[in-house]
């Protein structure tokens, strides 16, 4: 409403009513007066007044004008002034502006204006307060984050934090270096195909191994252990031996809230273990070899004590002694050549309550469709020192073989202390048929399989990890037989942890990353929002435009987009030897000369590394059909297939801006005001494409395209989709 407007309809209505009323009064008064007069008097009055009627009308008009003037005053005071106040108040309400209200109208109206002004001022103060609080809080968060980041980067141990789906949401530099050493293609992908935000830790660790460790932690938490953690050792694909210490991340502050993720502290113990094994071997050679030699010498010397020995026999015993002394000397010399460096190491074992192990074994055996498990004699107080993962595998494997090959339907588990100090017997017992010694031997030596899973280990390996023994015993009387594992007992009892339990209310919260809340959506990939997917945005440089006619890839570059952020540090860039010439005409476009690709890996090696880098992500490229064509033509030769969904920024741009003439990458980048650096290297183009893609996502949302499925479908329908490359 305009405060300076002309009087509105209500004003005219009131004025009209007033005029009507006056007219009515005049007419009624005249009629009443006339009705009291007789006919002659009426004529006299009418003749007297007849010519003076305009005078009466004029006074009437004058009165009406006075009334209108008065009405106008009232209207301004009681209608216009509040209306203006309303307008001003609305403006203040609708904007953040802190402006004074013009005082006007009568006293009440002015008072109302003052009150509103008070509210406005109060609002401004509150706003400033909140803003200050938010600033302070985010300063704190920022500080804590950078403190955490500094702390993490200084750690000499590698740390990886994952959510329950195994997605990495935090890692430090050390971890990155370590993963680089684990990479199958360290020179190609630099370990970035293994570690990165949002990547799955299961590309490095067996999912079941991690699940098993989490389960152990869960059991410990149920028992009320203050800081439950689990440890496991695993070999990676690249043959490295990693020790991982797992600690749960709990969502709440109270001790027994649910696990929302886990922290892994990783140690590459390959070299330690190799050294230790070597040391072990030397030591064993020395002790056992020496024992035998000493025994031989001792026996021979004892024989020499007989006084009536024939000379020939005496010479034979002398020969034995000379021989063995020589052998011992050689052995010691060999050993001295290799430095002896401390004591031998064992496979790292963890303390576990025997009863926990058996209940896990029961579940495990029954889960692989092995025989039913019944408890036999179980000493619930025993704490074992075990590598529970491999030991459970061994039990499940043996039980399954018993079921498969001897039709054993029920087995029993027994755990008792062994007569030897610090050892326990873990027995897998069954009733009925038993087997030959050869069979037991081959079961021990075969690589284990259980529930269709193959393990590289044999039962013998598992037993050796524990420094234990394994054999088959028969209880003839009871018509039973059992496999016996002789296992070490834990020396320090873990129960101590329970005693030192303290409520963890004061646990500092360093971070609150979105990925903690993200759970692997059970929805189909196609139904997931574009904003929460992980993408590999890539580009290739090629010798030409016709892959079908022998053109080849000479460079692949890719960047990752996770949770709406471009991760520049997790990129992939590799030149490829095309094993053919590079046309001189194309060199100005990509700037790659034949001597740049000489000595680079061929596509057979680069494509698998890129495939690993891109796994679990959606592929994005500009004019994707072109790049995909090159990748697909290599499928047969390299054996890798890119089966994930593909998005094309060219098609998406055409979808968002259907009226633009050009959808070349440069043109789109210019429209979005994206600074282009290093274009026409594969990685440079991939990064520009990624930035374009990130700008396209909100524009697509405006068009009602939110999910991957919708984006792919809409892209299909655009005109460009019909062009065949």
């Amino acid at each position: 409403m305009n405060p300076n407007r002309r009087p509105d309809r209500r004003f005219w209505q009131v004025l009209a009513a007033l005029s009507g009323l006056l007219l009515l009064w005049a007419v009624v008064t005249c009629l009443l007066l006339l009705s009291t007069l007789d006919a002659s008097e009426r004529d006299t009055v009418l003749s007297l007044l007849g010519g003076r009627m305009p005078l009466a009308l004029m006074t009437l008009l004058f009165v009406l004008m006075l009334a209108a003037a008065g009405l106008n005053q009232l209207y301004r005071r009681y209608i216009v002034a509040p209306a203006r106040l309303v307008d001003e108040a609305r403006i203040v309400l609708g904007t953040d502006a802190e402006r004074a209200l013009t005082p006007q109208g009568d006293v009440e109206n002015r008072a109302l204006a003052d009150v509103i002004a008070g509210f406005v001022e109060q609002r401004a103060r509150l706003r400033a307060d909140i803003a200050e609080q938010v600033r302070a809080a985010s300063r704190n968060v920022e500080q804590e984050r950078s403190r955490l980041a500094a702390l993490m980067s200084e750690l000499t141990q590698s740390v990886v934090v994952c959510n329950l789906d195994g997605r990495i949401l935090l890692y430090n530099n050390r971890a990155r270096l370590q993963f680089r050493a684990l990479s199958d293609a360290p020179r190609l992908a630099d370990g970035a195909e293994l570690i990165g935000l949002g990547r799955s830790i299961y590309t490095v660790f067996d999912r079941k191994l991690v699940a098993h460790a989490l389960e152990n932690i869960g059991q410990r938490m149920q028992r009320g252990v203050a800081s439950p953690s689990a440890q496991f050792v695993t070999t990676t694909r690249a043959g490295q031996l990693l020790r991982a210490q797992m600690t749960p991340v709990r969502s709440g502050d109270d001790g027994d809230s649910a696990i929302s993720g886990f922290v892994l502290m990783l140690d590459n113990i390959t070299r330690d273990f190799e050294e230790d094994s070597e040391r072990d071997r030397l030591l064993l050679g020395l002790t056992e070899g020496s024992r035998a030699s000493l025994a031989n010498m001792q026996a021979a010397i004892d024989m020499l004590d007989y006084p009536d020995l024939e000379p020939a026999m005496r010479e034979r015993f002398h020969g034995v002694i000379r021989d063995e002394v020589g052998a011992m000397s050689r052995r010691i010399r060999d050993l001295a050549d290799e430095a002896t460096r401390g004591l031998k190491a064992r496979w790292p074992l963890e303390d576990m309550l025997g009863a926990d192990l058996l209940s896990a074994a029961t579940r495990r055996i029954e889960a692989v469709k092995g025989p039913r498990v019944q408890p036999d004699d179980i000493d619930a107080t025993l704490w074992l020192k075990v590598d529970s993962f491999s030991l459970l595998q061994a039990l499940a494997y043996l039980a399954e073989r018993l079921a498969d090959e001897y039709d054993i339907r029920v087995v029993m588990l027994r755990l008792v202390a062994a007569p030897q100090d610090n050892r326990a017997h873990l027995d897998l017992i069954w009733q009925g048929q038993t087997m030959s010694t050869e069979t037991v031997m081959s079961w021990q030596m075969d690589a284990m399989t259980a529930g269709g899973e193959r393990s590289p280990l044999s039962v013998r390996d598992v037993v050796e990890r524990h420094g234990g023994e394994f054999w088959l015993e028969r209880e003839r009387v009871r018509h039973r037989a059992f496999f016996r594992f002789l296992l070490p007992l834990a020396s320090e009892r873990e129960q101590l942890d329970v005693a030192t339990f303290v409520p963890q209310g004061s646990r500092p919260e360093y971070y609150d990353f979105d990925l903690f809340r993200a759970t692997e959506s059970s929805r189909e990939l196609a139904d997931r929002p574009l904003t929460e997917l992980a993408y590999t945005v890539f580009d290739t440089e090629t010798t030409g435009l016709n892959p079908g006619e022998g053109d080849e890839i000479i460079q692949i570059g890719a960047a990752r987009v996770v949770n709406g952020k471009l991760l520049r540090q997790e990129s992939f860039e590799q030149l490829v030897d095309p094993q053919r010439g590079i046309p001189a005409a194309s060199i100005p476009i990509h700037g790659i000369t034949p001597d740049m690709v000489a000595g680079q890996p061929t596509i057979d090696r680069v494509l698998p590394a890129f495939h690993t880098f891109a796994q679990d992500t959606v592929l994005v490229a500009h004019n994707a059909a072109f790049d995909m064509r090159f990748l697909q033509l290599k499928e047969a030769r390299t054996g890798v297939r890119f089966e994930q969904p593909v998005l094309d920024t060219l098609l998406l741009s055409a979808l968002v801006h259907p009226n633009q003439a050009s959808h070349r990458l440069e043109a789109i980048a210019e429209r979005f005001n994206i600074t282009v650096i290093g274009r026409h290297t594969a990685l440079g183009d991939a990064i520009v494409t990624a930035e374009v893609f990130l700008k396209l996502i909100p524009l697509l949302a405006e068009k009602g395209i939110h999910t991957l499925g919708q984006a792919m479908e809409a892209a299909q329908e655009t005109y460009y989709a019909r062009i065949k490359y």
Partner: protein
């Protein structure tokens, strides 16, 4: 009549001494140089006592021991295991598999003779 003893060991350097010793102690001695040979000799000769080395080619002492114990016809055979493996787990396994006694190398021949006499007596 003297007791029959079989010595099974793959090392000639100990065989020569043990054979000499046991013969001198008046036993009827035969020797075997690996596990398979040892098992065949036990079946054929049914010795009263076997000095059985654990680490032998062909079949280990553990296997020989287990097979002897699995055979009811060989119930009378006593087994004394000899080994250079000193770990207590090996001792436990040997005894569990049916060895009557266990000696760790090196041992004094006097103790060995004494043990053998105890076992036969």
């Amino acid at each position: 009549m003297s007791s029959k003893i079989l010595i099974a060991d793959d090392e000639p350097n100990i065989l020569v001494s043990l054979e000499f010793l046991m013969k001198r102690e008046g036993f009827d001695v035969s020797v075997a140089r690996d596990g398979v040979e040892a098992l065949a000799a036990i079946r054929e000769q049914q010795p009263e006592l076997v000095l059985l080395d654990v680490m032998m080619p062909g079949k280990s002492g553990f296997e020989v021991c287990q097979e002897v114990r699995a055979d009811d016809a060989l119930r009378g055979v006593r087994i004394l295991m000899l080994t250079a493996k000193g770990r207590d787990t090996d001792v436990a396994k040997g005894l569990a598999l049916g060895a009557d006694a266990y000696m760790t190398k090196p041992f004094s021949t006097r103790e060995l003779v004494q043990k053998v006499r105890e076992m036969l007596g």
